[in-house]
């Protein structure tokens, strides 16, 4: 049968498509075929490996040979939760992650206001590129770049020497700076987008009713971009919490949760597994709090 005669046939006698018509009548099967791949990924790889990690945390390890044997003991958890240096590292990591998030917000809000409301279009585009540009560079490259800037004979000390200022050397503040540098785009972009979406006449209205710039930012802009700040902070907070290379290369003796997990991953896998539950718990608590504010629905 030629194409022409097929096309001239009425629709009802078109060549049947068995698979499509079979699926059409079976919505559950259709759903299954839609979700098969992503669900295999999420359950098979993601959830399952997390579950394995949790199980490992209860296993035993031979102190001499480092051989792991299945079992059930809570010592790994009690070590992580009671040992002062583990606790100190957890608290330090939490504070570093929170500080990084705060610093990102403090940089992102004024930058976003400038880009969205003041900058001319060419400058706005240039800044948008400048913010996203670091994302194109490798993660390690950026850490090494920070290392070069803040090392003893690095750029910072050289540039600041005329006014007698010396950098703090590799320590917690430099870790915070490095992590801020790494994750800033994830905060800056949603914040900028949210500020752009504020209708311009809200600024006019605020000023019309006697509010100066700072009051408008505090009472109108900040409340309206809270969802964007929380969306950004999910990244800045959880990525900082899990990071260990920044601490290793720019932190001097600074230890973060990740550093300890990395050190234990061969020597004592159950302790590493138990300790990795700590940042997961922090993130879950953080998400639960964020959820209560109703911000996650708008991500």
């Amino acid at each position: 049968m030629s194409d022409i005669t097929t096309n001239s046939q009425p629709r009802s006698v078109r060549r049947s498509r068995p698979v499509s018509s079979y699926l059409l009548r079976r919505p559950k099967l259709r759903l299954l075929s839609l979700l098969a791949l992503p669900m295999t990924w999420i359950i098979g790889v993601y959830i399952f490996s997390l579950f394995l990690l949790l199980i490992t945390a209860f296993w035993n390890v031979d102190p001499f040979t480092s051989l792991v044997s299945p079992g059930f003991n809570l010592e790994n958890f009690s070590l992580v939760l009671t040992n002062p240096s583990y606790i100190a590292t957890s608290v330090r990591t939490l504070l570093i992650a929170l500080t990084v998030t705060l610093v990102c917000i403090m940089f992102a809000v004024p930058l976003g206001i400038f880009m969205a409301k003041i900058a001319r279009p060419w400058l706005r585009n240039a800044l948008a590129v400048a913010i996203t540009l670091p994302l194109w560079a490798g993660y390690l490259v950026k850490i090494i770049a920070m290392r070069l800037v803040f090392t003893e004979e690095g750029f910072f000390n050289w540039a600041m020497s005329p006014i007698g200022v010396r950098g703090p050397g590799f320590s917690v503040p430099i870790v915070i700076l490095t992590l801020t540098y790494l994750w800033f785009p994830y905060m800056a972009l949603p914040v900028y987008t949210a500020i752009r979406q504020i209708p311009p006449n809200l600024f006019d209205a605020s000023s019309d009713m006697g509010a100066k710039g700072f009051t408008t930012v505090w009472r109108v802009v900040i409340p309206l971009i809270v969802p964007a700040m929380i969306a950004g902070s999910v990244f800045t907070f959880s990525l900082s919490l899990g990071d260990y290379l920044a601490a290793r290369f720019t932190g001097g003796a600074t230890q973060m949760i990740g550093s300890i997990i990395a050190a234990n991953i061969n020597l004592n896998p159950p302790v590493a597994a138990a300790y990795s539950m700590v940042p997961i718990t922090f993130v879950v608590i953080y998400l639960a709090v964020a959820r209560r504010t109703g911000s996650l629905e708008r991500m």
């Binding site: 006449n201 209205a205 000023s207």
Partner: protein, 352 residues
């Protein structure tokens, strides 16, 4: 001294001239409307009075004080915005309290004032709602309450009724007018709707291409249009110029006559004193309910629109059909002469 005085206001955006030498006096307590098609500069002038834009040239004074370069937050004027500009994250009460809060009014007092303002627009029941939970008309009222609670000397309204449907808009027109009269606040109202302007205003300022074409009471601008633009923009009008004007109307100036001032009579009709009758042929006749609209051509080739009110019982009005020979009749005093066009100098000095 007028409450608000604009002197020679000019403002351009790039190559577009939004305001071209606008001079205007606004008296205390009046309801004045800036009327014009979109892009005629009326909103720009309003924004210059509010302080959102700075004029390129000219001055704005309020109560004799030069406020041309004051920021909006230092001016004793408030604005009701076209799409209300309510803060979406604040309740009705917080929205209305906003301006009082920036003025450091004590908490108890500002809550009291906000409640009164919300009660004045009859929305006490919605005081805790968020703007998105309100209807368009309710938002409009809250925007009004939010501006009125600050008791400004001048309230600026930028097409505040534009987003409402027709029936609600007409209700709000009455309500706004009532509020204005009772509070005695000067309203500067921007609209492109000439009927709305006529209905509400004490005076109308007609804008075209950034210039003031005419200022006057609704009756003045309708009955004695100063320019051809005004005659054509406010309602329908028959405008006849040059040789034809001299021939038919006996005037040397451009003349304008409203369709409702023209009548059609049978050819046998004999004109009374002061009346002028011209032979014509009916081209079109359309019954639109209250009126019948005719288009007739005179023997000199002038096309006239005529609106005839249907006052008699059905079927008894003097009705004509296309092709009928008729007389177009008017009274000499109904002709409005439009002064020679005064482009570029129309605003300057004329209305000071």
């Amino acid at each position: 001294m007028a409450l608000v005085e604009l002197r020679g206001i000019c403002k351009s955006f790039g190559t577009v001239t939004a305001a071209d030498n606008v001079t205007l006096d606004i008296e205390s307590g009046e309801f004045i409307t800036l009327l014009g098609p979109s892009g005629s500069g009326k909103t720009t002038v309003l924004r210059i009075i509010a302080g959102f834009e700075e004029p390129d040239a000219g001055t704005v004074t309020l109560n004799g004080v030069d406020i041309t370069h004051l920021p909006p937050f230092d001016r004793d004027v408030n604005t009701v915005f076209q799409d209300y500009a309510l803060f979406p994250h604040m309740s009705v009460q917080d929205n209305v309290e906003y301006g009082l809060r920036t003025r450091k009014v004590p908490k108890a007092q500002r809550a009291q004032q906000a409640r009164e303002a919300i009660a004045a627009v009859k929305l006490e029941h919605a005081i805790d709602r968020l703007p998105h939970q309100l209807s368009g008309g309710q938002r409009q009222r809250i925007a009004l309450a939010r501006a009125m609670v600050l008791r400004p000397k001048v309230l600026l309204l930028d097409e505040p009724l534009g987003a409402l449907d027709r029936q609600l808009r007409e209700e709000m027109q009455v309500e706004l007018k009532t509020v204005q009269r009772e509070a005695g606040i000067t309203f500067i109202f921007v609209t492109h709707d000439q009927e709305e302007a006529m209905r509400m205003s004490d005076r109308i300022v007609i804008f075209n291409e950034g210039r003031v074409e005419q200022v006057g009471t609704p009756e003045e601008v309708y009955e004695r249009p100063a320019t051809r633009f005004v005659a054509g923009f406010l309602g329908a009008s028959n405008i006849v110029t040059g040789e034809l004007a001299r021939k038919i109307f006996g005037r040397t100036a451009t003349v304008s006559i409203r369709p409702e001032r023209l009548r059609l009579q049978p050819v046998a009709y004999s004109a009374a004193t002061g009346e002028i009758a011209v032979a014509a042929t009916v081209k079109e006749a359309a019954f639109v309910g209250a009126n019948t609209l005719y288009i007739v051509d005179t023997e000199d080739g002038v096309r006239l629109s005529i609106s005839s009110t249907n006052t008699q019982s059905p079927g008894h009005d003097n009705r004509f059909a296309p092709g009928d020979r008729v007389l177009a009749v008017w009274h000499d005093r109904h002709i409005a002469e439009i002064p020679a066009e005064r482009r570029h100098t129309s605003a300057r000095g004329k209305y000071e």
